[in-house]
């Protein structure tokens, strides 16, 4: 349920509506918009008794949200969510490039990549400190030491940093260092981790599960938002199909789909989707042309010597060339073209 307030509704009127919603045992989520404020209601398991809210001062009307995901839906919030991370804008009209090595391996490697990223136009530095590896015998990441190196790279280059939190145990630690917390594909339905991320004040980048539908993906985002953290960035990273030439099949159609049904920003990870270096560039271009809000790409100064995911990391030279191409594409397309209405 969504309560739409009058254009000139006073702050007190909004607060009163929120209080009444709380009295009813439900959770209010004020959603500020350019025109007017709206208040989302969650926590109901059946129809909300609307009588008490309808008559309150400042209330324009009540809208029933038809989708199972509420706070993430466009019905609840028609304007795009724009997230500001240390003055880097995610969502809206531009494009954001998140780049860096798969794992933080050493201070030297991270600094080298960070400076190259900064100089070639990346906005945010990525790097895994806690790594979810398919095999328990593979390199598991440097842990806190990796986070310290990332923070150092941030203070030297000014690039905000993103890194993955693998479980609720290390969540606080990761949260204390990074600017954006990543929830990996394997954790997309780890509900206790999602709830913890929902109580964080930092933006969360949520990756799509390897075999989750769009609906399950948005319901996972809903877990985070329902706890009060509205700064969620969605990340498409390929789904499991029978096609075996690439590691996963990047679901490019999810971009226009998600743009239509949710207001959250969408980033594409072509590195994990393809698992192959020479496919990262065409898929990155495709993602931006399809209207994605950015890409997250693995870059390594010497991919063949990388401790993890070397075959899917591109070199710094390839990355520079890619950025130049993406700049041209993003300028030629009309982003966020949400096609509404009938095709007549």
């Amino acid at each position: 349920m969504l309560v739409v307030m009058n254009k000139n509704a006073a702050k007190e009127q909004v607060e009163k509506v929120c209080d009444v919603i709380k009295e009813m045992g439900l959770t209010p989520h004020p959603i500020p918009g350019a025109q007017r404020i709206a208040i989302g209601i969650t926590g109901n398991t059946s129809m909300v008794d609307t009588h008490r809210i309808e008559g309150l001062p400042g209330v324009l009307n009540l809208i029933h949200v038809t989708q199972p995901y509420k706070l993430t839906s466009r019905e609840m919030k028609s304007e795009d969510t724009v997230i500001n991370v240390r003055d880097i804008i995610i969502g809206g009209d531009g494009m954001v490039i998140i780049a860096g090595p798969c794992a933080v391996e050493s201070q030297k490697q991270t600094m080298e990549v960070a400076y190259a990223m900064k100089e070639s136009g990346a906005a945010i530095l990525r790097g895994g400190a806690f790594k979810p590896r398919t095999s328990p015998y593979s390199f598991q990441g440097l842990g806190e030491q990796g986070l310290i190196i990332l923070a150092q790279a941030r203070s030297e280059t000014g690039l905000p940093i993103i890194s993955e939190a693998l479980d609720t145990d290390n969540f606080d630690l990761v949260e204390s260092y990074v600017d954006i917390i990543q929830i990996g594909a394997r954790n997309m339905q780890n509900y206790s981790l999602l709830r913890r991320a929902g109580r964080s004040t930092k933006p969360v980048l949520l990756k799509r599960g390897i075999s989750s539908t769009i609906k399950e993906f948005l319901l996972a985002a809903e877990y985070i938002m329902s706890e009060g953290n509205y700064n969620v960035i969605l990340c498409e990273r390929g789904i499991r199909t029978f096609s075996d030439y690439t590691r996963f099949t990047l679901d490019i159609s999810s971009i226009p789909e998600l743009k239509r049904i949710t207001h959250l920003p969408i980033i594409v990870d072509p590195s994990h989707a393809s698992g192959k270096r020479d496919m990262v560039i065409p898929l990155s271009r495709a993602a931006i042309a399809a209207g994605a809000d950015g890409i997250m790409v693995e870059v390594h100064p010497n991919p063949d010597a990388a401790l993890s995911d070397g075959p899917q990391s591109i070199t710094i030279d390839m990355f520079r060339k890619l950025i130049a191409e993406l700049d041209i594409i993003v300028k030629t397309i009309v982003k966020n073209e949400r096609v509404e209405g009938e095709n007549i």
Binding site: I239, F242, Y245, I252, P282, L283, A290, I333, V339, E342
Partner: protein, 338 residues
């Protein structure tokens, strides 16, 4: 193994090479290109021995080992991108083409109207089904030869080249008479008698990927056509079947770089069938161009809600025109011209 003969190889030199290969117990297949002749050695198990025997023979330029099960379709066989010319219109490498039109030919008036529109917007080919493979036997099955006649009339009127589907090998001679490009649909990707038949005709073939075909199976189907002597095959990705049901199929965009790596054949994208929803066609088309596709196959209809088939995925003329403008600019990034 592929043996490439030099440009000036004589016929008796070619015969001699074939004779020597056969003496080793292998069979051969001969491809006479415009400039060079190529001999495909089938069943070569002892490479060393074959190389030793053939390498020094008169007229032999080089031997190329091919590790994939698809040979003629592979990059090793033909390192350069294949450029196909249909009545002077080039497809592949730096030439990007747009094939547009209705799902099915419905009436002369309707088709001519759409043809004028797509022509004006910059399409080079007109698509339209005369024989329709519908999931239900009770759905509209197409106008048949009447539909082909209408397509031919549209070509005469607009100069657009015609792409239309041939459903069975008995129809090949008939469709051949009218079409410039024969389309093999996704459901027929592994209809081997049909593939062999079209391989014997001198006409460009547009081969759609089966909805649950791997890249290798798809290239093997292309190989069926090529091995019959028809070198003009265009591949078309149109979405694969996955668990995701938001779109009719899941467009496998990575097929573009994968095909580019393993094959020399041009690859087109059909965003209309892939998504099944016109609202996604524009975004997917732009993405396909950016990913390096050689062209698009897009459904356009003047009045989608009234279309006899696939109205939901057809673009109205206005949106198609807008799309053409956008993709023209993106194509420049991948070094292609429209």
């Amino acid at each position: 193994m592929i043996i490439t003969m030099s440009v000036d190889a004589m016929n008796d030199e070619i015969d001699h090479v074939i004779k020597k290969v056969k003496e080793l117990g292998y069979s051969t297949k001969l491809f006479q290109g415009e400039k060079k002749t190529v001999i495909h050695v089938i069943g070569a198990t002892d490479r060393e021995r074959l190389i030793k025997t053939v390498e020094a023979l008169q007229g032999v330029e080089k031997l190329v080992p091919i590790l994939h099960p698809f040979k003629l379709a592979s990059r090793e066989f033909h390192p350069e991108d294949t450029v196909i010319s249909v009545d002077g219109v080039r497809i592949g490498k730096s030439d990007f083409v747009v094939i547009a039109g209705p799902c099915a030919v419905e009436s002369e008036k309707n088709l001519l109207e759409i043809a004028e529109i797509v022509k004006e917007a910059g399409a080079k080919f007109l698509r339209g089904g005369a024989f329709k493979p519908r999931s239900s036997p009770y759905s509209f099955q197409g106008l048949g030869e009447k539909g082909l006649e209408i397509l031919a009339k549209a070509r005469e009127r607009t100069g657009l080249l015609i792409v239309t589907e041939v459903l069975s090998e008995v129809d090949v001679p008939l469709v051949y008479k009218y079409a410039d490009v024969l389309q093999i649909g996704a459901r027929n990707m592994q209809n081997f008698p049909l593939l062999k038949t079209v391989g014997r005709f001198n006409k460009t073939i547009l081969l759609k990927r089966g909805m649950s075909a791997t890249i290798e199976e798809w290239l093997m189907s292309a190989e069926y056509i090529l091995s019959e002597g028809n070198p003009n095959v265009i591949l078309c990705e149109r979405g694969i079947r996955t668990f995701e049901k938001y779109t009719r199929n899941t467009l496998d965009m990575s097929a573009i770089p994968v095909i580019d790596r393993f094959s020399h054949l041009p690859i087109l994208i059909d965003p209309s069938h892939a998504s099944g929803d016109w609202r996604y066609v524009r975004a997917l088309s732009k993405a396909a161009v950016a990913a390096g596709a050689d062209g698009l196959l897009v459904e356009v209809h003047t009045n989608p809600p009234d279309a006899i088939s696939d109205g939901k995925q057809s673009l109205k003329p206005e949106i198609f025109r807008q799309l053409m403008k956008e993709i023209r600019k993106i194509a420049e990034v991948t070094g292609k011209k429209l």
